[in-house]
């Protein structure tokens, strides 16, 4: 048993705090009937629940990637234990084969040979230029290189059957929960008669299992998404990118939310010069091209980080801090939209009669804001939160592509796409990196958007 040292990065802390806050909000919602009924409507929405299931799968990957540790190095007994410089996560540990089985350079998905010719010394003959066999991809096939398709299909089939069995077990459990002590639970789910959209969740879960189980099974024997320039498995990179995307999406929202909510409500409620000042600030901020603003801030931050290497004990810490700094910068530049929205809504709310009734009682302004205005703005905040998430994931990709995004050592959808940009210029083109990154990001953002739609429908007072 190897020892290890737990490493808590700043972003890990934020992520687990967010999880705790999420649970807290959940408890709060369960205690507040109007919110609970709204979320029940989300729960009844089939598309919403299907996308929530997909989102949950992504979040699970991200959470596993947020448990960091440093493995102990083999040393002589009695010596002080030394820990590796490399910071690993629980996901890395689970995906050790993916992480460690690097090839020399590019290889296509399901390839058994490299994508570039090399000079190989063949015993008995001179050196020959050919596509060398991969070190890991399809190694178990030995001489039967041409049986890739049959082998892969058979393996996928076996995995698929297993996935199906697993799904049946899950579905059975769901039916037991729905039906409680009767047997009709299964029928009710099938006909969509349950209050919660179990059928959508189960169908999505089935699709995810059918897709993911064979994929990972095969990834033990092949590079299912190919390898990149330095021979790293693309599937592994995609998995690692998920956490980066989630952090950018969530932490940034967290940074901008208090600012947007506070300034928006204050501007709308107090009006007068307070309103003028806040409006001027966000109008000015809005009139500067946001990419330029972000670029300037990121470059300044980079200089600070580069001139203080002593702050960081590992490269991971440096990359992590840079990621957080990026979140802050994105947050500080992106609160204006929500702020404007909340200001408008507050202007409307403050004229409502229950606010005036409270004023007639002499209730203080801050108490009115907290008791009467904030709860009535919550639906907008929740909608904005979910909608902004997908926008920010995309923004990260754009910024990393321009070269002002996350640390180059950190895997993200943006850096993957940025690297793939060069590879597309090759002849023949290396397309798999780009396609894998796009597909993963597409699924994540689509799920987030569909979920946002469901949330908006459920919280829209006019729809009720």
């Amino acid at each position: 048993m190897m020892g290890f040292q737990i490493v808590v990065l700043w972003s890990d802390m934020l992520i687990w705090l967010l999880v705790a806050a999420g649970i807290g909000v959940g408890v709060l919602i369960a205690k507040t009937p109007p919110l609970l009924t709204a979320w029940r409507r989300v729960g009844a929405n089939r598309v919403g629940m299907a996308s929530a299931t997909v989102l949950l799968a992504f979040i699970l990957v991200g959470l596993f990637d947020s448990l960091h540790y440093r493995a102990a190095l083999d040393g002589k007994p009695g010596q002080k234990v030394q820990y590796a410089v490399e910071v690993l996560s629980a996901l890395d540990a689970l995906a050790t084969p993916l992480r460690t089985r690097s090839e020399k350079t590019y290889s296509e998905p399901f390839a058994t040979r490299l994508y570039a010719k090399e000079t190989v010394d063949v015993p008995g003959r001179d050196s020959v230029r050919e596509y060398p066999r991969l070190k890991y991809g399809g190694r178990h096939l030995g001489e039967h290189e041409d049986e890739v398709a049959a082998d892969a299909a058979f393996t996928a089939f076996r995995a698929g059957v297993l996935a199906l069995l697993g799904w049946l077990a899950l579905a059975g459990m769901a039916a037991a929960v729905v039906g409680r002590d009767s047997v009709i639970g299964w029928q009710r789910i099938w006909r969509g008669e349950t209050a919660f959209a179990w059928n959508a969740v189960l169908v999505t879960l089935g699709l995810i299992l059918l897709g993911v189980v064979p994929l990972f099974w095969l990834s033990g024997q092949y590079h299912v998404f190919g390898t990149d320039k330095v021979g790293q498995d693309v599937l592994y990179q995609v998995l690692k990118s998920v956490r980066t995307g989630l952090i950018i999406g969530l932490v940034t929202t967290l940074v901008m939310l208090p600012m947007a909510v506070l300034l928006g409500i204050v501007a709308g409620y107090f009006r007068g010069w307070v309103d003028d000042v806040i409006q001027y600030i966000y109008t000015v901020l809005n009139s500067i091209p946001s990419v330029l603003l972000i670029a300037a801030a990121v470059l300044m931050m980079q200089v600070v980080i580069d001139t203080h290497p002593q702050w960081f004990s590992t490269a991971a810490e440096r990359a992590d801090l840079r990621l957080l700094a990026l979140c802050f910068i994105l947050g500080i530049t992106s609160w204006t939209g929500l702020c404007r929205l909340l200001r408008g809504e507050t202007l409307k709310l403050r004229e409502l009669e229950y606010i005036q009734a409270a004023q007639a009682f002499g209730v203080s302004s801050w108490r009115i804001i907290i008791r009467h205005i904030l709860p009535n703005l919550m639906h907008i905040v929740i909608i904005a939160l979910v909608m902004d998430f997908s926008g920010l994931v995309l923004a990260e990709a754009v910024l990393s592509y321009v070269g002002i995004g996350v640390d180059p050592t950190m895997t993200s959808f943006g850096t993957m796409i940025n690297n793939a940009r060069m590879e597309l210029g090759r002849e023949p083109a290396v397309w798999w990196s780009l396609v894998a990154a796009f597909a993963a990001m597409f699924i994540l953002v689509l799920a987030a958007n569909l979920f946002a739609d469901a949330v908006r429908d459920a919280f829209d007072p006019r729809a009720v």
Binding site: E353, A357, A360, G362, V363, R371, N376
Partner: protein
């Protein structure tokens, strides 16, 4: 001409279909006005939409026939139906402000109908439009054709809407609460217009309304709807002479009126059953005072003669409205010293324009009014919309800072107070708002809502005594104690208004400012709230400043009356003085314009031309002179001073000097 047989309309919700209109049958002859009367949610509007086949997406025609001159409308294709809509039958809606497209000129909107149904275009169409606008009483039609809806006032918009409806030369006009959003004087104009047009064209009108006064003025035959069913159909004489269904009778008795002063209004207990839980027997059984066992078992059938049919088992005599119990004594209560004295109160809102937001003028919402309210009495402030009466209420509470004048409560001057002293003063006055749906925070429990004022003003110190007080208050306004743990959306409009009353009472005020507290409620619920207010005044000796435009309420409730026009009080005095012997021409016109829910209707309506001008730019001299039937030369140049008619009665008019 229009025949409706056993029409059933439903709304789908999930997999269920709830019948909102359940088997109604009636017919309308040419040139006849059929009024569909009922409270909100009884299926009146759904019926109209069903006839036009304009039901919302969730609506379904479940069963029945609708035929116009023997043509089955429900069997027509959508394309054929379009020729009927706007052509042979047309509809006008409740809210003139939203039924016109704000980005098209009035001419374009009328022209659309002419092109579609009559194939008119060009000069011919314009001539027709001018003609139409003139018919609906819009002056200078050539110019106004090219104007946009925002350039028209509310009553004018409704006239335009009528012109659009008439453009297709319909044989049937469906008017869905056509005057509910309008002031009484404008309502009188629109009702007259409809009656004249009907006489000229021989149109049939299906009038949908909840107002017995409008019914009395317009209808030839009346159908009373309750919970999706017609319960009584009668011609005008029979309806007003001998209403037979207990529901109809209860509606009449719930009306506040001068003859019911000092008595409790009779109310209809309970609520309209919800669509999902319709009783199998008579739908009114739960709330009926004459209920019999058979009512709950089987729905009654129609009986009665041709011109007066009713759906009820009960056949006893209607209780006669007893006008003999008019209690005059209450009017004689001596006016004590006013404990709230308002002197020269002005509220001006600046109009800002330009880059630097310079003040270019003022909206004189309240322009120097003086009032005094005595303990235990009710002062009713009455006037049309936009005259500044709500602003007065808010300025008294210091929710809006007055521009000038003084508001004295006891010996304290309120204007200019701030911070703790203002908070202490606010304990003595509270407000009840117009819209019970907007005046309660939907995210707070009823108990929290009621306790808010006590917390803020430091009445009833700890949580236990607060809880006890909340329970007591809920009992006082007639709500169950457990209501405190529920949320406002679980209550009906009337119950919400009770909660608002309880909230105001929580700090034991001596003055309640009631800003149209019943205008959003149905007649039967209005009666409950008025009874409650009256009861509380008797028990607690609270004074009311009652702001309203409803004269029936004035007559029922008022001790003193002040009539406002364009930011100023034109006449004030004891209720019986102002109502019996109105001095100002505006008061007289207002009183005569109120449609009375009686067969004979009003004797002679004094027609007021036009509508109230904007308080940003009031007419010179007497504000009322452009509309006054007795205008004199002096009125145009000088605002009249206050003339004392008696010790307690005064008016501002040159006629009196």
């Amino acid at each position: 001409m229009l025949r409706i047989e056993n029409l059933r309309l439903g709304f789908t919700s999930g997999k269920n279909t709830l019948a909102a209109v359940d088997g109604i049958s009636f017919s309308i002859a040419k040139g006849e006005t059929f009024a569909l009367l009922g409270e909100s949610g009884c299926g009146k509007s759904a019926t109209a939409q069903g006839i036009m086949r304009l039901l919302p997406a969730a609506g379904r025609v479940l069963d029945g026939h609708v035929s116009l001159d023997n043509e089955n409308l429900l069997a027509l294709s959508e394309a054929d139906m379009r020729a009927y809509r706007g052509g042979r039958m047309a509809m006008i809606f409740q809210e003139p402000a939203t039924s016109l497209n704000p980005v098209l000129t009035v001419g374009q909107q009328i022209g659309e109908v002419l092109r579609r149904h009559l194939g008119l275009a060009g000069a011919e169409a314009i001539a027709r439009m001018v003609d139409l606008l003139r018919q609906v009483g819009i002056a200078d039609p050539e110019r106004r054709l090219n104007e946009y809806p925002f350039q028209f006032s509310g009553g004018m918009k409704q006239r335009v809407m009528i012109a659009i409806a008439l453009a297709g030369e319909p044989e049937l006009l469906i008017a869905d609460e056509p005057t509910t959003a309008l002031d009484v004087t404008v309502q009188a104009q629109i009702l007259d217009l409809l009656a004249t047009l009907q006489a000229e064209r021989g149109m049939a009108i299906l009038l949908i309304t909840h107002d017995l006064g409008v019914v009395a003025r317009m209808a030839h035959r009346i159908g009373v709807m309750y919970a999706g069913e017609l319960v009584e159909v009668a011609n005008r004489e029979a309806f007003f002479g001998r209403p037979q269904h207990p529901y109809t009778q209860a509606l009449f008795e719930a009306l506040p009126d001068i003859s019911r002063r000092g008595q409790l209004l009779s109310t209809i207990p309970g609520q309209v059953p919800s669509l999902s839980a319709m009783p199998s027997g008579c739908r009114f059984a739960e709330r009926c005072i004459h209920v019999m066992p058979v009512c709950r078992e089987q729905s009654p059938h129609w009986h009665g003669q041709e011109e007066h049919v009713v759906r009820c088992y009960w056949s006893g005599q209607a209780r006669l409205a007893n006008s003999a119990c008019h209690e005059v004594s209450e009017l004689g209560v001596s006016t004590g010293k006013g404990f709230l004295v308002v002197d020269g109160l002005k509220v001006h809102f600046p109009i800002r324009k330009g880059l630097l937001q310079r003040t270019v003028g003022h909206v004189r919402a309240v322009d120097g009014i003086s009032l005094s309210i005595s303990p235990g009495r009710t002062l009713v402030l009455v006037g049309e919309s936009g005259c500044g009466k709500t602003t007065v209420g808010k300025a008294l509470l210091q929710l809006i800072a007055p521009t000038a004048g003084s508001v004295r409560l006891g010996d304290n001057e309120l204007v200019g107070l701030a911070g703790r002293r203002l908070r202490a003063a606010r304990r003595h006055m509270q407000m009840i708002f117009q819209d019970p749906f907007a005046s309660l925070n939907p995210r707070l429990r009823v108990g929290e809502i009621i306790a808010e004022g006590m917390e803020a003003l430091g009445v009833a110190g700890n949580a236990v005594s607060r809880h006890a007080t909340v329970s007591a208050l809920l009992g006082q306004v007639g709500l169950p104690e457990e209501a405190g743990d529920r949320y406002p959306h679980e209550f009906s409009g009337g119950q919400r208004q009770r909660i608002a009353v309880a909230r105001a009472l929580a700090v034991q005020p001596e003055l309640l400012i009631c800003d149209e507290p019943t205008s959003a409620l149905d007649v039967s619920v209005q009666a409950q709230i008025l009874n409650l207010l009256k009861k509380l005044q008797g028990e607690l000796g609270i004074a009311y400043l009652f702001i309203t435009h409803n004269f029936a309420v004035v007559e029922y409730l008022a001790h003193d009356v002040a009539v406002m026009y364009l930011g100023r009080i034109v006449e004030q005095g004891r209720a019986e003085e102002v109502l019996r012997n109105p001095q100002h021409p505006y008061t007289r016109a207002l009183l005569s314009a109120v449609p009375l829910p009686r067969q004979e209707g009003a004797a002679a309506v004094i027609r007021l031309p036009g509508e109230a001008p904007s308080p940003a730019n009031p007419p010179t001299g007497c504000h009322f002179h452009p509309r006054c039937p007795n205008v004199m030369e002096v009125c145009r140049s000088r605002y009249p001073g206050k003339v004392e008619v008696s010790v307690t009665h005064s008016a501002s008019c040159h006629l009196l000097t």
